[in-house]
């Protein structure tokens, strides 16, 4: 799941992001904390409220740490679910205003 190049960690989200996945996703975010992170949502088929919470929380955490959080290659299902849940994809990402 993880491989590091150019200092940015990556995290590939599993296809089904429901109740049972939330804890694992949270754990994955926690272990990657403090570094820039690129989240890959290409495989996501289903997104539930609790995983959304994790994503939102993670974004807040990365913003607080002033680390970059990117969202790479989102699947259509992922974008549709975000739209349905009233979450514009960009509020899940964080860009540092000034390069450090």
């Amino acid at each position: 799941m993880e491989n590091t190049h150019s200092g940015t960690a990556t995290l590939a989200l599993p296809p089904i992001l429901d109740l049972t996945a939330a804890a694992a996703v949270l754990e994955n975010f926690l272990t990657r904390r403090g570094k820039p992170l690129s989240v890959n949502a290409a495989e996501v088929q289903r997104l539930g409220g609790q995983c959304l919470q994790v994503l939102l929380c993670a974004r807040a955490a990365w913003a607080a740490d002033e680390q970059e959080l990117r969202l790479d290659s989102c699947s259509e299902e992922f974008l549709a679910a975000l739209d349905l849940l009233g979450v514009p994809p960009k509020i899940l990402t964080y860009c540092k205003e000034m390069p450090a």
């Binding site: 049972t20 409220g49 994790v54 929380c57 849940l85 979450v87």
Partner: protein
């Protein structure tokens, strides 16, 4: 099992129940015996299936259930009259819904064209009987009706496998939605409980629907979330729960919060039209929620009276009770061996234990007993379909649905019954024209009856068709080489020829029956259940198939006998009487077989030990005890044994499962002394004798 899969399985189990209720209700409506509650029950069934299907994102099912539900709602509110055409459509829709459920369960596919055609029919019928189209009616007064919904799921909502995204998707069916998220309550990442719930959705729904329609979306999660629904349409926003209206005459009325249950939809609180705010209109609206609550309380009570138990647990218990019976028998044996007097305290206590064991066994068996209703309920659909395929008119009348049988029996009688009913319609009933010509009503009658008779369940399938064409059956049997051309057969024997393998009188092979495997397969599966099947037929008046089965497949009342030192059990149900044969009554026939003269008739004698190959030498009849037994369809034989040891209840242990099938042996059991005894397959033994006898019998009759 993965928890989701378990929940899904429960959903499908409930679907089965709902489908059964749906079908039962529709049939009541068809027969004209429906009450107001019947329609509600039918509606509820479809609605619950839709609700559950929504949770599992079974879209096809939800879509169809929605259309179905809409039509039922119209029926309920009286805007759609239940004409025969409408009922017919509803029944077919129920069948389609059952197919969709099954497809969803097995990940199979359904005939989409058929579903689509039904949907079209529904739209036609609803615009016909309905002045205004149902759901998406453009709202006359309000320009752009909209609802604000604030939805805060609790953690328990997710824990119960519900999902916000699915609810929102469901909501979107009502109209375009716009959701904004309030994430202000989210904690720091490190403090986040991944299975907690911190979000609130504020949703704007632009749809002209009732508040109830919205609440229905959240129906299954109402206890697990905070939900507020407010109308965004300017003042007079319909009536909110808690609103008090006071009329000119001082009559005041407080609106009740809309109940969770859906009955209320019959009289939805109209959101806009002002005339409904006049006092006279309100008592009607009020009465309904009260009834609803009563109904809800009632159904809640009904629900809590039963529990759902995994079948494995019950089976395990039955196994254990079986062991208990064996153990108890062993104990009595030991007591007997110890030479303790019959009147002693030990023997009496043992007797009590015996009673208790028997009672426990009966009670455990009662747990598995289920009414045959579940099987009977599938049959009306079958009759409709087969009748439609064959171009015949048929009506099914069922009796004794409440008759209880062991669950294993229930599961395994469905197929034979299906076959028999198909046969009754396809072969039994005549075409409407022929029926009218014969002076019968065009619609044929198929009767399905269940009853208890002397410790067995008897199922009868009868039709009022033409009866069996004996001449043709015999001709066919001769042509297929099943009987000799000159065989002299009674009418009954001819009728029973149709159970022979490879027999079919239908000149054309149809989809429905008549591949020549039908009745043979039926008979085999019935025999495998320890049952018998027979037919009686009267030309021009119809045929009756009678199926007799043991009530349970776990225990058996048997007669313990010994034959050349081997202990055997003969099922008590098969024994007609026991006797000591007198040498004078025995007549040898054809060397090997003896006949016994019994009450004016001759019955073949079978030496059990010899027939099972325990020995070659036949027992002297006057040295033996004889048991007159009756096999299926009333064939009799006298079994000869060395001694009868008495009657006892034995626990059936399958021989096939533990060893392999043996001809002449039905199963095995464990006796009180721990030894294994075999249970005789009386039918098989009788039949072998009969067939050996068949050739010589007629010559004997001629000789006398």
């Amino acid at each position: 099992m993965d928890p989701m899969a378990a929940i899904r399985e429960t959903f499908f189990q409930e679907c089965e129940e709902q489908l059964a209720a749906l079908e039962a209700g529709l049939i009541l409506m068809e027969s004209g015996a429906a009450e107001a509650e019947t329609v509600n029950a039918v509606f509820r069934a479809v609605h619950s299936i839709k609700g559950g299907a929504g949770i599992f994102a079974l879209d096809a099912l939800v879509r169809f259930a929605h259309v179905f539900e809409t039509a039922l709602d119209q029926v309920r509110s009286g805007t759609l009259a239940t004409t025969q055409a409408v009922l017919n459509l509803l029944l077919r829709a129920a069948d389609a819904l059952a197919d969709l459920v099954r497809a969803a369960r097995e990940n199979g596919t359904v005939d989409e064209a058929r579903t689509a055609a039904l949907v079209v029919e529904f739209t036609q019928i609803s615009t016909h009987g309905h002045e205004q189209p149902p759901t998406p009616a453009p709202a006359p007064p309000a320009a752009s009706p909209a609802w604000h919904i604030s939805f805060t799921p609790a953690a328990s909502l997710y824990a119960k496998a519900n999902e916000t995204a699915l609810l929102l998707r469901e909501l979107r069916r009502l109209g375009p939605i716009e959701a904004t998220l309030d994430s202000s309550r989210l904690p720091e990442l490190s403090e986040l409980d991944p299975e907690g719930a911190y979000l609130t959705w504020n949703i704007t729904l632009a749809a002209d629907c009732t508040e109830l329609a919205i609440r229905n979306v959240f129906e299954f999660v109402e206890d697990d979330c905070q939900l507020t629904i407010t109308s965004a349409t300017p003042p007079e926003p319909g009536l909110k729960p808690g609103d008090v209206i006071t009329g000119d005459n001082g009559f005041s009325f407080e609106f009740f919060p809309p109940p969770v249950f859906d009955e209320e939809e019959a009289v939805p609180p109209p959101p806009v039209e002002p005339e409904h705010h006049e006092p006279p209109a309100t008592p009607l609206a009020r009465q309904n929620p009260v009834e609803t609550m009563a109904a809800k309380a009632e159904s809640a009570a009904a629900v809590s009276a039963t529990i759902r138990v995994d079948l494995d647990r019950v089976d395990r218990m039955i196994d254990l009770v079986g062991e208990l019976v064996i153990n108890e028998a062993m104990l009595s044996q030991r007591v007997l061996e110890a030479g303790i007097a019959r009147a002693s305290g030990v023997a009496m206590a043992l007797e009590e234990l015996e009673h208790l064991t028997r009672e426990i066994q009966d009670s455990v068996m009662a747990i598995r007993a289920q009414p045959v209703r579940s099987v009977f309920q599938r049959m009306p659909r079958l009759v409709r379909e087969v009748a439609a395929q064959t171009g015949k008119q048929a009506r099914l009348v069922t009796e004794g649905e409440g008759t209880e049988v062991d669950k294993t029996v229930i599961e395994r009688i469905a197929d034979p019954l299906t076959h028999m009913i198909r046969n009754a319609i396809d072969h039994g009933l005549e075409s409407p024209e022929k029926r009218i010509a014969a002076g019968k009503p065009a619609e044929g009658l198929v009767r399905l009856t269940a009853l208890h008779r002397s410790g067995r369940i008897v199922l009868e399938v009868s039709d009022d068709g033409a009866g069996i064409n004996r001449a043709r059956v015999k001709e066919k049997a001769i042509a297929n080489g099943l009987i000799a051309p000159d065989a002299a057969l009674t009418d009954d024997e001819i009728d029973n020829l149709i159970f022979l393998p490879g027999f079919s009188t239908a000149s054309t092979v149809s989809d429905i029956s008549g591949r020549g495997v039908g009745m043979d397969v039926v008979r085999q599966s019935v025999v495998a259940l320890g049952g018998r099947i027979s037919i009686s037929s009267r030309p021009g008046q119809g045929s009756t198939f009678t199926l007799s089965l043991p009530l349970t497949l776990a225990v058996l009342d048997g007669m313990v006998i010994s034959a050349r030192g081997h202990t055997l059990i003969i099922p008590l149900g098969a024994i007609v009487e026991t006797l000591k044969p007198k040498a004078a009554d025995v007549f040898p026939l054809d060397g090997e077989i003896n006949l016994i003269h019994l009450r004016g008739g001759y019955v073949p004698m079978v030496d059990i030990a010899a027939s099972l190959g325990y020995c070659d030498e036949l027992i002297e009849p006057n040295q033996s005890v004889a048991l007159l037994v009756e096999g299926e369809s009333g064939m009799r034989a006298v079994l000869l044994a060395d001694a009868i040891h008495g009657q006892r209840q034995v626990v059936i242990k399958s021989l096939e499962a533990n060893y392999r099938a043996i001809p002449g042996i039905a199963a095995s059991t464990v006796m009180g002394d721990g030894s294994v005894a075999l249970i005789l397959d009386v039918d098989a033994v009788v039949k072998t004798t009969r067939s050996e006898l068949n050739r010589s019998e007629s010559s004997l009759l001629e000789a006398r």
